[in-house]
Subunit: 155 residues, 2 copies
């Protein structure tokens, strides 16, 4: 066997590690800059992640969104408040249970959601650029490996 399975050279480790680390920072940076130059220049990366978590259609409760983003309820309240003020998010009072507020995007919020989603689509597309079906499967397997590894650590 020319290449041992599960054995990785120092150079490969360094390359992949740096790539994995840098890529995320780079994406955040680009998102920030892109937003700054767009019609949505009053929105930060953190805010767009909240908008993404609220999603297009499924009227989640505040607590659900807070859990997903691992923020306290208090933090979410304040963040939602500013996005509401800026006109991206609307609160809906739940008819069944008068304690809960559900979150939804305004038209402006939906527009931003779609723009952001399109950017992510580009990222994924670039990731698998020029690859055939089998190669895409290899990438998926790698991502599944990583997710499994990470969830094994957590519980």
């Amino acid at each position: 066997m020319a290449e041992e399975k599960n054995n990785i050279s120092k150079a490969d480790f360094r390359f992949m590690n740096d790539a994995l680390v840098d890529v995320y920072d780079h994406i955040m940076r680009i998102e920030e800059e892109t937003l700054r130059k767009s019609t949505f220049r009053d929105i930060s990366v953190k805010e767009i992640h909240l908008i993404h978590a609220i999603t297009l259609h499924d009227h989640k409760t505040s607590s659900e969104v807070a859990n997903e983003l691992r923020l306290t309820k208090g933090t979410l309240t304040t963040n939602v408040k500013t996005l509401e003020r800026k006109g991206y998010v609307k609160r809906i009072n739940d008819e069944q249970d008068h304690r809960v507020t559900r979150l939804t995007l305004t038209n402006k919020g939906k527009l931003l959601y779609r723009a952001h989603d399109a950017f992510h689509r580009q990222i994924v597309k670039s990731f698998i650029k020029g690859m055939d079906g089998n190669e895409v499967k290899v990438i998926k397997r790698a991502l599944i490996n990583l997710e499994d590894f990470l969830s094994d650590i957590t519980q």
Copy 2:
């Protein structure tokens, strides 16, 4: 051709996008928790990234580190100050140019650096678990694709 090149199904997009997004958050979370439970419980994820940027051997200047991490000089000064107080980092006065301070890790800092590096090694290893040389090449290509895409945007 059963599978068109460069065409990705909605499901594949969603899977890869979510994986790419979630993986980073997950890693940060695990780093945070692991630190909390270790001997280094006085260190945050942001702080460990600073320690990583200072590196084991190459006595960078404050400005160099600030640029790498894209922080202002002022922010770096305060961050270094707390890491110095906690005993992970040392300032060295440059003999040539008395304006510059170079940054280096104490033994405690180096210990932490190595522990953190070992964790990253595990991550990369899990990423390519069970793959042969060709498959590893596919992964590398994907990461290069992504880096190219991102630098093209920034140029």
